[in-house]
């Protein structure tokens, strides 16, 4: 047990990553009562955005980012982190505009634009694979795009706003998640081959505890920034108001759609940061399916802490990370195989929910009928 401090450090670091992702789940649940199952996949896109940013920066600004030693250049590392946060923030916005907003309102332009672009791109890719000429492939792509736009226009105009149920939104979230994973697998997008962040040969540039500490610290800074935004700014106040009662907030003149969009962007940016922190600093492989398990664990962390509650998500994340690490480290000594790490994490969830159905910090509010 003498390596306990080391194991706790690893656990806290893993937990801080779960917490960063869990914040996105919990905030979106707060404003929309929606479990955004696509959130884990945003984290996956964050890793790819980071590797793309590293590559671009290395190509365009080789003096700023010495590409192979990505991390020893602090400015380069910060730029990559910010780039990934911005890209994921935008992705969060797009997901909200294209997939969830049309379920609440009569919006059709944004979904047609983004979904149609994706459908058009896939149609174009298929057409080129089928040895069509480039011009006819582009025409097929545009036709597919236009077809989808027309379909959305006709259906959206006839529905009454707010008719989509929460179940519809939940299923849409699963759909978006599957879309991101399987779109990413396409050879033209990310392909299913695992990737690594570039790294230089003298691997021990950063001592392990410095690396672990760095991940933990950056997560902490991001969480403090989030707390500041939520508690001290106007938009933060609006988020809290919408989370408290969205109808009343709308009556008070708050543009709830804008608040919801901002919340998505904020959560997605945190997930993007988590993606770069994990895969950029730990140099582990990632593929388009890497978000599934992380997303699930972070979701469990959010529920564990009380979904909708921001400090709860952080607490839940840290508990999950510590529990998992301690199982891997000391489980084998008492006959629990380290492959039980996931099982133990989920068992913990069941146990806590038995005694506190609203999670550790959640308030149990019986539904008034």
């Amino acid at each position: 047990m003498h390596d306990l401090p080391q194991q706790i450090l690893i656990g806290l670091q893993l937990g801080s990553i779960y917490a960063l992702i869990a914040l996105g789940y919990t905030m979106v649940y707060g404003v929309l009562k929606l479990i955004n199952f696509a959130h884990g996949d945003v984290y996956m896109v964050g890793a790819y955005a980071g590797i793309g940013a590293a590559w671009l920066l290395g190509t365009w600004l080789p003096s700023v980012v010495h590409l192979p030693p990505l991390i020893p250049s602090p400015l380069g590392a910060v730029l990559v982190l910010l780039a990934s946060m911005v890209i994921c923030g935008l992705l969060g916005l797009i997901i909200e505009q294209a997939a969830y907003r049309p379920l609440r309102t009569r919006a059709w332009i944004a979904p047609a634009l983004f979904l149609g672009a994706a459908v058009g791109y896939v149609a174009y890719g298929i057409a080129t694979n089928a040895n069509r000429t480039p011009v006819s492939a582009i025409i097929i792509g545009i036709v597919a795009w236009a077809g989808l736009a027309a379909l959305l226009y006709t259906t959206q105009r006839r529905r009454s706003p707010g008719s989509g149920s929460r179940l519809t939104a939940l299923i849409t979230a699963i759909g978006v998640s599957l879309f991101l994973e399987n779109f990413g697998v396409l050879p033209q997008i990310f392909s299913s081959d695992p990737r690594f962040f570039p790294n230089d040969p003298p691997i021990a540039r950063l001592a392990p505890n410095v690396e672990t500490g760095l991940i933990f610290t950056v997560s902490l800074v991001l969480m403090i920034a989030l707390t500041y935004i939520v508690t001290r700014t106007r938009i933060g106040k609006a988020i809290r108001a919408v989370s408290f009662d969205s109808d009343a907030a709308a009556l008070m003149g708050i543009n709830t759609d804008r608040v919801i969009a901002f919340t998505f962007a904020l959560g997605a940016a945190l997930a993007g940061a988590a993606g770069v922190l994990v895969f950029g600093l730990q140099h582990t492989k990632f593929d388009p399916y890497v978000g599934i398990l992380y997303g699930l664990k972070a979701f469990v962390a959010a529920v564990l802490g009380g979904i909708g509650n921001i400090p709860g998500a952080v607490l839940g994340g840290l508990i999950m990370g510590l529990a998992e690490t301690l199982v891997v480290a000391y489980g084998p000594n008492i006959g629990i195989d380290s492959t039980y790490r996931d099982a133990v994490a989920f068992f913990l969830l069941i146990l806590i929910l038995l005694f506190r159905p609203a999670g550790l910090l959640g308030k149990f509010a019986p539904e008034k009928v």
Binding site: V119, A144, D193, P194, A204, P208, T284, S338, T339
Partner: protein, 409 residues
């Protein structure tokens, strides 16, 4: 208005139908070596061989390396006039490294493509998933490099042209106790892989038999992002070597995190390390795997004329790139199969896909003895496994093929 709306929808339906039609035409099988205009008479119709491989996914280099070897063997035999005037057509199914996809792919190859024999896979769990269907349909299957004993135990129609893990594990144990003078070892293996499970077990037994002591055994699951918790306990145990019988993807990360935590003991592994991407995953040349060892099928020693010919024709076909051992295994698996088809002779009635011919083909493969392959001489034993030498390779810089020792069966 009503009419307009309906017509818009019909139009959309049409578009999506068109898109779907394109999807299917886009997914058509990759076929090579079909004889020109040979879809008419049965006399010149191609002999269809099915191949399943992980062309994408977590073990993508296994599939692409093996497939290049198979394609080269097919191209060579077709150039030389084929088998009895019939060209050979390789139908490739990508299983993405997933056992269920391997099983489905092989079903398609046998029932739809009418393959008379199957080549594949590298990862043992995929071969084990596909073998029962081949065996029950009496279609011979040759695995190029699945080393888990269970693969060929499926039944009489399943073969392999590589050694098996009891031998590979023994070789690793003899090497670490003999050459590296290791007295203690720690093992970190992938619990979800048949290959990793089997190999660690055989290594452990052989290592203990050689007088070594296994200090601790830890497990992981393919796809785990973080091994530091297990590695921290391994570091505390301070073993002479760390045995990691996993696949190349995880090995790079494990090595990097082990070195970061200050584990200086060499990592030792098996043929699952064989990949052009092995070193990249460990942080590039001179990275975390520098100086580590693994057991493998062959180092493709070019002093042997058969190997030299293979390497040269491979380079000519692949823009000067060097083949790896898995390419050689793929080439040999296809070579053994083609030789057996020739040896089985002409089928009665000219149907290569008859039960009678496939039974003859099975016997011909089983009788393979002294076949001069690129990865060594191949003789299949009564258990349908090849008796072949194993090499121990060391990773130095960007080269992972420095031969340290060769062990005869």
């Amino acid at each position: 208005m009503r009419f307009n709306r309906a017509s818009t929808r019909q139009l959309c339906g049409l578009f999506s139908a068109a898109a779907f039609a394109l999807t299917f035409s886009g997914c058509a099988n990759k076929t090579v070596g079909t004889s020109p205009g040979g879809d008419g008479s049965s006399a010149s119709s191609p002999i269809v061989i099915g191949e399943f491989a992980s062309m994408t996914g977590a073990q993508a280099t296994f599939g692409s390396s093996t497939d290049k070897g198979v394609q080269l063997a097919a191209a060579e035999i077709n150039k030389a006039g084929g088998i009895d005037g019939h060209q050979v057509a390789i139908h490739l199914e990508n299983d993405e490294g997933q056992p269920d996809a391997a099983a489905t792919g092989v079903k398609k190859l046998i029932t739809e493509d009418k393959a008379i024999a199957i080549l594949g896979e590298v990862a043992s769990k995929n071969s084990i998933a596909a073998a029962p269907f081949c065996n029950s349909n009496r279609v011979p299957m040759i695995s190029p490099s699945s080393t888990n004993p269970k693969v060929t135990q499926t039944g009489p129609y399943i073969f392999r042209v590589c050694f098996i893990d009891p031998f590979q594990g023994t070789v690793a144990a003899k090497f670490v106790t003999g050459t590296l003078k290791a007295k203690t070892a720690a093992i970190l293996y992938d619990k979800t892989s048949d290959y990793s499970n089997g190999l660690q077990d055989f290594f452990q037994k052989a290592f203990v038999a050689q007088g070594g002591k296994v200090l601790l055994v830890r497990t992981y699951q393919a796809g785990d992002p973080d091994f530091r918790s297990s590695l921290t306990t391994i570091k505390a145990a301070n073993p002479d070597i760390l045995y990691v019988p996993g696949y190349y993807n995880e090995v790079g990360t494990i090595a990097r995190q082990a070195r970061q935590l200050g584990i200086t003991a060499p990592l030792v592994g098996g043929d699952g390390w064989e990949s052009p991407k092995l070193i990249e995953g460990a942080g590039g040349p001179g990275g975390a795997l520098e100086g580590c060892y693994f057991t493998d099928h062959s180092a493709l020693d070019e002093r042997d004329p058969v190997v030299k010919k293979f390497v040269e024709s491979y380079k000519a076909a692949n823009g000067g790139q060097s083949p790896d051992a898995l390419t050689g295994q793929g080439y040999d698996a296809a070579g053994v199969l083609f030789a057996a088809i020739k040896a089985a002779g002409k089928p009665d009635g000219g149907d290569y896909n008859s039960d009678a011919f496939r039974a003859k083909l099975r016997d011909a493969i089983a009788a393979t003895a002294g076949y001069k392959g690129a990865t060594g001489d191949i003789t299949l034993d009564a258990d349908r496994n090849a008796k072949k030498a194993a090499v121990v390779l060391q990773i130095k810089g960007s080269n992972y093929k420095n031969v340290i020792a060769t062990f005869q069966p």
